[in-house]
Symmetry: C2
Subunit: 211 residues, 2 copies
């Protein structure tokens, strides 16, 4: 079972029925995809009749948009908090990757909807989400740029490397399973080290300095 955990990202949603529908939709969308999920399935998971869905959300797509928006806002906030108050760029990068990876592992059900159901959004909603996504890319690129300028990193292609680090973190949502051999914390730790290596950080996790 990959949907055993509940997602506190939507804890503040009221009324209670609207939140239950949101949680049901997250699980259903993650399991089957947006287009293949029926409103009857979502309503059933929330313990309600299909018609009740339309009291709280105008359409099925609006439900996806709410999930996508809250999910993106949450993951961007996680990134922003992570890079605050770090001593240097290396620490900022490590914190950012650790936090971003942990979010994608711990909330892999939500993260799957966030990362893989973008194409199902309506045109206008999609545009709003893209703005949020650009923000997280910029945060990461800024960390790498600062690190290069400070002489901490050695990166020939900053934009490409930022995209690759981002991509590495995002893909955690695809393969992570709570039944797997690693915890979100362990993966975050490993990936922070790998990101420092990708950034050409001199001391990055090298187990021996010269052999």
């Amino acid at each position: 079972m990959t949907t055993g955990e509940i997602d506190e990202s939507f804890g503040g949603v009221t009324p209670d029925a609207a939140r239950r529908l949101l949680l049901g939709a997250v699980q259903a969308f993650a399991q089957r995809g947006f287009h293949a999920t029926t409103t009857r399935d979502i309503a059933g998971r929330a313990g309600m009749s299909p018609a009740a869905l339309y009291i709280h959300y105008k359409t099925k797509e609006e439900l996806l948009f709410h999930i996508s928006r809250v999910g993106h806002e949450r993951s961007v906030a996680v990134l922003e908090e992570a890079v605050e108050g770090a001593a240097d760029s290396a620490e900022r990068l490590a914190h950012a990757v650790r936090a971003f990876v942990r979010w994608h592992a711990e909330h892999h059900t939500t993260a799957r909807v966030v990362q893989y159901e973008l194409a199902a959004l309506g045109e206008e909603h999609h545009a709003q989400i893209v703005v949020l996504r650009r923000r997280s890319e910029e945060i990461l690129r800024q960390v790498l740029e600062d690190g290069v300028r400070a002489g901490e990193f050695d990166i020939p292609d900053i934009r490409g490397t930022a995209l690759a680090v981002m991509s590495l973190c995002i893909d955690v949502a695809r393969w992570f399973s709570p039944q797997g051999r690693r915890t979100p914390d362990e993966i975050g730790e490993l990936y922070a080290d790998l990101a420092l290596r990708m950034a050409g950080h001199r001391a990055a996790g090298v187990t021996s300095s010269s052999g």
Copy 2:
């Protein structure tokens, strides 16, 4: 348009109608997902009536299985060919990542079906595909293990790093677009360098020794 290119992976499929159905299904599955794709859509893309599909394939799921099997076999073959005849582990890793990434970029439509529609396979078909996927993981892990043993790489967590490199390559299928600013070759080159850095290869793409 993300489905402009045709995929030569299925060039050998006969008869012609079966191949056209396969190509139509690849495009439809990649765009909308398996569950949301209708047999009428697939048949329409192949220029045939819905009923014709069932002359060549027993069910819609069998069509997905064919795509998934051929796609996995092809990507594993690409990996195997890449690691052959390289001088050392660093070259083997670079070749492997370059080839695997290029395949996922050039055949991103097929690759999306291969990587993101596994859950739609029937139980037995899924089991067959998992065998193929394990093979590609093993190839990459072996390259890293050999490199560590030879003193070329410095990797604290070989299994985790192999998974991460794999994950990095696979995610290319999610974000790659022919309209983007990078060609499959350029991405392959960048990612080969990043993989060497992740493996702790001493000379990996460091642009200057001190600044």
